[in-house]
Symmetry: C2
Subunit: 323 residues, 2 copies
């Protein structure tokens, strides 16, 4: 057929969705809308609310670092307390990624804790962990900031959905809760009434499993390095756990630390910043961005959808430009 290889054509087929308009009359893409945001519409994430998970280097010797933003109050704070305690205790150091189930989750923890493929003794947990009740999956507080975006329609899982305080939320007359979008991090648990401690964590690597909302604690999201988890080989065992004959595929976790501690550590190289920021979900730019996600008018598109589900409007997060 054709061999057009201009820069524009090259980008175009390549971009089955994120084509970049070249002409001024083109409507901006969602990413271009975000680029218009002023510095004050971005919100800094405190280093105290970031985890740094270091995996062993990949096969080519490249370091693999995953950054997790922990969920702020009023959500899941008991589990967040536990996770920081486990990180500061060094408990996570030496655990591994034990489960990779396609279109579902990557899960990491002690390979010998409640794992169908366990082959040793579970690692003792430190003192001081809180035990949370199931009612804590949902927040009943009313002091969340008002949102510019307030979608009242089209969610099959909840009466209402919002982006507030930088996070995707759902709610009904009883309360509000964070939702299971791609990259969100949650707490593995046993059967009810167990709610999990935070020692066993997972992230979503497929279509949003929203049926898990209000059934498991969500404690954060991956804001950098997601590809180090999502591209791991899938496990052949039950539920995507690595089976006995493929334990060598488990990825060892060197450490999980609170970023604030690394910034203060003498053992870390100079120049670390761990400075990230998210686009305020209460900003006008976020409203424009959400509208652009729901109504793609940039040149690649011919039928704007007229809507988007909440997990298809991910909150923009970036390294701070002056971080």
């Amino acid at each position: 057929m054709k061999k057009i290889m201009t820069g524009l054509a090259a980008l175009a087929l390549a971009a089955i969705a994120f084509a970049q308009p070249e002409a001024p009359e083109d409507a901006p893409s969602p990413n271009q809308v975000v680029e218009e945001a002023a510095a004050e519409e971005w919100v800094s994430i405190p280093a105290e609310e970031l985890l740094v998970m270091r995996l062993t280097p990949d096969a080519d010797g490249n370091p693999r670092e995953v950054i997790i933003q922990l969920m702020p109050a009023p959500f899941s704070q008991g589990w967040v307390h536990n996770i920081k305690l486990l990180a500061r205790d060094g408990w996570y150091d030496g655990i591994s990624v034990n489960r990779v189930q396609d279109n579902y989750v990557v899960q990491w923890g002690d390979p010998n804790y409640d794992n169908p493929e366990a082959d040793g003794e579970a690692k003792p947990l430190p003192d001081g962990l809180k035990v949370m009740g199931e009612e804590e999956y949902v927040s009943r507080t009313e002091n969340l900031p008002d949102a510019v975006i307030d979608q009242d329609v089209g969610d099959p899982y909840a009466a209402r959905i919002w982006h507030r305080g930088g996070w995707p939320l759902a709610g009904n007359g009883e309360g509000r809760w964070p939702v299971h979008c791609y990259g969100m991090v949650g707490v593995g648990r046993n059967y009810s009434p167990d709610t999990g401690s935070g020692a066993e964590l997972y992230t979503v690597i497929g279509h949003a499993p929203r049926h898990l909302d209000r059934n498991i604690a969500l404690v954060g999201r991956i804001i950098e390095g997601m590809e180090h988890l999502s591209s791991l080989p899938r496990g052949k065992g039950e539920l995507g756990f690595y089976a006995e004959d493929e334990f060598e595929k488990r990825t060892p976790i060197l450490s999980i630390d609170v970023a604030a501690d690394l910034l203060e550590s003498d053992e870390e190289p100079a120049g670390l910043t761990y400075a990230y920021e998210y686009l305020s979900t209460e900003s006008e730019i976020f409203a424009k961005y959400a509208d652009a996600r729901a109504n793609r008018r940039d040149p690649f598109f011919i039928h704007p959808a007229g809507g988007a589900d909440i997990c298809n409007i991910p909150v923009p997060v970036r390294p701070a430009p002056n971080g």
Copy 2:
């Protein structure tokens, strides 16, 4: 905390969602509902509607085969014609996976066709390819089978959604179209009015990018071997294309064939069947399965959602038991 290692407990924490009930009073999980289906509720997929894509073996020498079910009439038949023509011409043999964008798509084709990282001449296409108009993204035919499931609520992208004829569909007063769920296969294209030939294909490896519905032709879905694509290393170039310094990460595609041709080939080993079947979306079991997906009552769950989006109700597909 605890070190319970009974089989039940082991399954439970492991199963952040797919716990298997052990007691008869437990409500069945969606998978258990499907297991109840009688043989006649499964529909055979003709080998003429299957593609077999063979990648080079993995680093350990294991073969990698991906099975794609092509979309039946009335959808996208012009592109399906082209894809079979390209397969039978041997055109796909020797192309590669050139793009892996996290939470979006894996794309394969001629690495030198409209690729921002191209470094050679594009491969000529065979004669006989059809050129489709944009109106063919949507079917206006009325002869689809009636569905047991008919969800009228809760979709942000379309007035109505259904599962019919084994596929997830959306529609409005103007017509019906297939939707971009995880594992669906579509046709890369250039800017409108180009609609793509079928030489450049992609599959969804993240949250459903439903904004692509009616903007790109969907031609099928991956029914086996998805993990060979979804776990590939992400590209560092623009849009997830492999950049110039990582061309060695491109996965070569040995061949793409129509399964029916392989079954008749003297060059293939004896015993090949390529016999797959899907659960009839017009069956009562499918209705029960969809209900179980939308209202998880199996023992792990404490809050059934009361709904599910169409991409969270994947149509069950399996190798035929007597295949």
